[in-house]
């Protein structure tokens, strides 16, 4: 029943045998022990499990690990490079874009995707871009400011 899969996760090549039904999020968390990606719902709505799959933000609770065979995945653990925070991570810290932190990894991944596609988003575009991520703590205002901060910062680099 098990299938062999081969992925590149945060720059590291991985080969494993998994049940076809294993969700990508469980593969990342339980097999690879990359627990920064969280699970917040069952219906693909909260976005806490968002990771980059071949450069595209996806909800890893709605992807089977076997579907990601041959792909490259970046999780939140892969965002900081050589000890330097990603501009979005920096924005979240500077602007207090998180409280309990549970939605944060998914929120950061989605925000990074948003800025990949639109370097200077308006407030409305940020809100539209974050529609797939729920936060129950911050009321979003500081998250929006964090994304604006990151956009500015990335623009300066």
């Amino acid at each position: 029943m098990k299938k062999a899969i081969n992925l590149n996760v945060n720059g590291v090549s991985r080969t494993d045998e998994v049940e076809p039904r294993m969700l990508l999020v469980h593969y990342l968390r339980d097999v690879l022990e990359l627990t920064g990606t969280h699970v917040g719902c069952e219906t693909s709505l909260c976005g806490a499990c968002t990771v980059m799959l071949d450069g595209q933000a996806v909800k890893s609770c709605t992807v089977f690990a076997v579907q990601a065979d041959g792909s490259s995945v970046t999780t939140i653990e892969g965002f900081a490079k050589n000890g330097e925070l990603h501009p979005v991570q920096e924005g979240f810290w500077e602007k207090h874009g998180l409280q309990c932190g549970y939605c944060t990894p998914g929120m950061i991944v989605t925000a990074a995707q948003l800025l990949d596609r639109n370097a200077d988003p308006s407030r409305e575009e940020i809100c539209h871009g974050l529609e797939g991520n729920l936060c129950r703590c911050t009321g979003y205002q500081h998250i929006i400011e964090a994304v604006q901060y990151a956009a500015k910062k990335a623009g300066q680099r």
């Binding site: 076809p20 699970v39 996806v58 909800k59 709605t62 992807v63």
Partner: protein, 288 residues
């Protein structure tokens, strides 16, 4: 959260996919983006025995012009459609509709073919392909057949897709002459699905009068439908306020509108009228 067990196969070609699907007509399901199927499996509302993953068949993902047609492969993602410069030019209804679906993560993974084949009563694509009078190309063990979108959606989550068939392509006649399009949507505050979604495609005569109208409606009935009475009420008119106002009163003709916690049938029908009107006005304003 955890689906039941199943087997998973990755066919290299569409033919192979059709063969796999036909190897277990009761238990096999096609997997494309998975954004309708996987949530259902996680809640164990769906428990297929075999998933046939067609998302890896590269030749099924494309947007291209061919003659007077726009051809869209079944596994083309919502995001691909949303961001297509070609479509923004020649058929902006499609990117606009794509942009309204779910959220960015869903659009990155979900596919137009999956959405149409699933035929969710509140899905967005059915409205768009109905308004555009699209042809849907289905492949089965006995070869290919083409079905008009309006004949494809049969009932709640039910389409003309026969067991063992796969939706391969969406074909849309390239809008010619003067035309205007829009997709208007009231998203459900929780699910993001359409409480009401109205796709409008208008073509115009040289004198500015409406040559033809395509109006696809989702969220209102058990399946998406073409609001033919509205279309008929618009064709040949100058789309003045009166003509539009009269036409849109027919948007729920023959439909028993859905009711849920968010919107009763009355209100849903009212929203359908308002957004059909707004859609027609917006399409008219965007004539190109």
């Amino acid at each position: 959260m955890i689906p039941a067990q199943f087997d998973y196969k990755v066919p290299a070609t569409l033919e192979e996919a059709v063969a796999l699907l036909n190897s277990d007509l009761d238990g096999a399901k096609v997997l494309a983006g998975g954004h309708s199927l996987i949530p259902a499996m996680k809640l164990r509302l769906a428990q297929p025995q075999l998933l046939v993953d067609i998302a890896r068949i590269k030749s099924l993902s494309y947007i291209r012009e061919e003659g007077d047609q726009i051809l869209i492969g079944a596994t083309t993602t919502h995001y691909h459609l949303e961001s297509s410069d070609l479509l923004k030019q020649i058929c902006p209804l499609l990117p606009e509709c794509a942009k309204s679906i779910g959220d960015v993560q869903v659009r990155n993974k979900g596919t137009i073919g999956g959405s149409i084949a699933h035929s969710d009563p509140a899905g967005d694509w059915p409205a768009a392909v109905l308004a555009l009078d699209a042809d849907l190309v289905l492949v089965g063990p006995n070869g290919e057949r083409t079905v008009k979108a309006e004949n494809f959606f049969l009932d709640l989550l039910t389409t003309d897709l026969q067991p063992g068939e796969i939706l391969r392509e969406v074909r849309i006649k390239k809008p010619g002459g003067k035309f205007g399009q829009t997709y208007q949507k009231v998203p459900h505050p929780a699910s993001g699905f359409a409480v009401v979604g109205v796709a409008v495609h208008l073509t115009f005569n040289d004198d500015g009068s409406c040559k033809s109208a395509g109006v696809g409606v989702t969220g209102v009935g058990l399946k998406a439908y073409r609001a033919k009475a509205v279309e008929a009420g618009l064709a040949g008119t100058n789309l003045d306020d009166n003509a539009i106002a009269t036409a849109v009163t027919h948007v729920c003709d023959g439909i028993d509108p859905n009711a849920d916690l968010y919107a009763s049938s009355d209100y849903r029908c009212h929203l359908a009228q308002v957004h059909t009107r707004r859609g027609i006005q917006a399409a008219k304003a965007r004539v190109q």
